[in-house]
């Protein structure tokens, strides 16, 4: 796979050089190329439903990246929206629509690991490259979905990293860990529990559906010895309610959440921790213009949008590079160009390059703590 990746990179690079030579000194060639560089990208995300705050943010950042890249590359790439509601069945339907639409050459999304599991084979059969900005389950990149990529790290990095932080810094003797019955959550839990148990911590593993909003019965089980509650959830509003139930029953446990809980304005239980695959781009000077544009256009945002911006940008650049090489932006060509991606810097504050199974090379996670004003403060790694 590595060889084929290098071969693809060399091919695209060679084509670029040829195209570049052909156009040297002639601005007209670029115009001709841009006129023919038309393609569509599918967007799969939870635009409606309980996870729609995530989907909305992802859609906004996909649109933003597309607009900026179209201007910069003089391409005519359009976005076709598909609402999955974070539901694998819906994701399958949307994917079938996308794969049968010949103008769609690659897909951004879907958001959830459970959805990637559902659509991975369909995408592979259609030869469609797809890049998720939030699906982190480690089993997705074992090679079973050859057209899948992600611009964020996976659970095998996040789970143990978070667990070690909890052990080393929060020193719990007993903790409760609650999954939300989705692949994303159960995957992270299965990575964390062995680390806790190896450290001799008593673990109470619980499980609640994402649709549950009353946690009072569960919170009653938090004993005085339980000083940490780990919530690897996707719905921030649920965690906020969990935190309120803890306060109402006078329980002192600290909440440690993951990705989905990064939602300033929704989840703001003082003292809680949130580990996220995405950085706070408002704190990255190089992202100031994107952050300002996004805020002006769509309002406040969290960490789900920027990875989708990065994913969309990778696809945009792949399409543009294929066009510049004088080739048709077909699914196969775009897929090859995605595989060859090597961006030295990105909106995420780190380079983007994929390994042979589509995982981000040298990806990292970011840890935040919520202060009494509800602000998310980055904890230096």
């Amino acid at each position: 796979m590595k060889k084929s990746g290098i071969l693809a990179a060399v091919t695209v690079l060679g084509a670029l050089v040829v195209a570049g030579c052909g156009s040297s000194g002639s601005s007209g060639t670029t115009t001709t190329a841009s006129k023919t560089c038309k393609a569509s990208i599918g967007f799969e995300g939870p635009i409606t439903g309980p996870a729609s705050p995530v989907g909305d943010e992802q859609l906004h950042f996909a649109e933003l990246a597309l607009a900026m890249d179209n201007t910069a590359n003089k391409t005519h790439i359009t976005l076709v929206q598909g609402d999955t509601q974070l539901n694998p069945a819906n994701a399958v339907t949307v994917t079938q629509q996308f794969t049968s639409n010949s103008s769609i050459v690659a897909v951004v999304g879907p958001a959830g690991s459970q959805e990637v599991e559902a659509v991975g084979s369909l995408m592979a059969r259609a030869g469609m490259g797809f890049i998720s900005g939030s699906a982190t389950n480690k089993t997705l990149t074992t090679g079973k979905y050859p057209t899948f990529f992600r611009v964020v790290s996976n659970d095998s990095v996040q789970g143990p990293q978070d667990a070690h932080y909890i052990i080393d810094h929060l020193h719990p003797k007993a903790l409760m860990i609650v999954d939300d019955q989705e692949v994303y959550s159960t995957g992270l839990v299965s990575e964390m529990i062995p680390v806790f148990q190896a450290a001799g911590i008593k673990v109470d593993h619980e499980s609640v559906s994402q649709k549950v909003v009353d946690f009072s019965s569960l919170v009653a089980k938090v004993t005085p010895a339980t000083t940490v509650v780990v919530l690897p959830w996707q719905i921030a509003a649920n965690a906020q309610q969990f935190g309120r139930d803890l306060a109402q029953q006078h329980k002192k446990a600290v909440i440690f959440g993951t990705d989905g809980l990064f939602s300033p304005g929704t989840f703001e239980i003082t003292g809680s921790y949130v580990s996220s695959f995405g950085p706070d781009i408002t704190a990255i000077p190089a992202d100031a213009s994107v952050a300002a544009t996004a805020k002006a256009k769509y309002g406040a945002f969290g960490t789900f949008g920027p990875p989708i911006f990065a994913a969309t940008h990778v696809i945009d650049e792949a399409i543009a590079s294929v066009c510049k090489a004088g080739h048709t932006p077909s699914r196969a060509n775009v897929l090859a160009a995605i595989k060859a991606t090597s961006e030295p810097t990105s909106i995420l504050g780190q380079p983007i390059q994929f390994d042979s199974h589509g995982d981000l090379v040298n990806g990292k996670f970011f840890l935040f703590q919520i202060n009494s004003a509800g602000k998310y403060q980055l904890i230096p790694s």
């Binding site: 635009i47 409606t48 439903g49 309980p50 729609s52 705050p53 989907g55 909305d56 609650v178 593993h205 619980e206 499980s207 609640v208 559906s209 649709k211 909003v213 009353d214 009072s216 019965s217 569960l218 009653a220 089980k221 921030a236 509003a237 649920n238 906020q240 309610q241 309120r244 306060a247 109402q248 029953q249 006078h250 929704t266």
Partner: protein, 305 residues
Amino acid sequence: MGFFFQELVNGVTMGALYALIALGFSMVYGVLKLLNFAHGDLYMVGAFIGYFVIQWFGGPTAVSIPVPLLLVIMFVLAAVLVGGLGMAIERFAYRPLRNAPRIAPLITAIGISFFLENAALLLFGSQYRVYNTPDFISFSSGLQIGSVSIDSVQIMVLAFSLALMIGLRLLVIRTKLGKQMRAVASDREAAEMLGINVNFTIAATFFLGSALAGMAGVMAGLLFNQVTNTIGFIAGLKAFTAAVVGGIGSLPGAMLGGLLLGIAESFITGYISSTYTNLFVFALLIAVMLVRPRGLVGRVQLQKV
């Protein structure tokens, strides 16, 4: 024992909420034999109304009127507006199908449910709206009995639910409208022949049932803080389950079913595992249905032929 009573309080609070929604569901079934799957969405609309009332009066951190008055306005507005919406749904969606095969209004009810859910999405957006109840109703004004915490919102929900249930029971048993409702539920044609205005009675039933759902929505908003356009689905499903277990069409049955469901959920989560809550709860409910197929207080209805 503290843990037991904490779970009991949690279960009864949740059960009271289920019971309130189940009451409306059961009332409508009683008079029309219609499974109104849009009922959960009326609860959602009520929750949104409560949210917007809080915003109109300055938001949770800066409420511009006394909190008791705010609560009264929230409940009254939710009851009146959602009740009116329920009547409108009955008038324009169900009444034209009253004599159609029973599957037609059932499908219409599902359609209305989707319509309300998506209308809310269009009007209010997809993001969670948060009541932030602790900002204007303090936990500290609740009760602490040993290790059992009962916050003021739980007390209010319990007291108000109980009052509504008793009030509804009295209305059905002691008032003229209640008698008309029972007559229409028993035999619509005979009731009409006796001079009862069937259309009015059915509309009033829809108003009352929907108003209860609307007020339950406000209570849910105060208890669980979050409102979005999809919260009605699970609430409607649980209310349907509670109504069936209690004996659909029976008001005491709906109350009992709701309380049983809430308490069962709470104890199974507390004493077994949250992982298997639905499994055990529904196994228990199936067992109830096997022993009493018409529900806990449902009666076999004899039909003269």
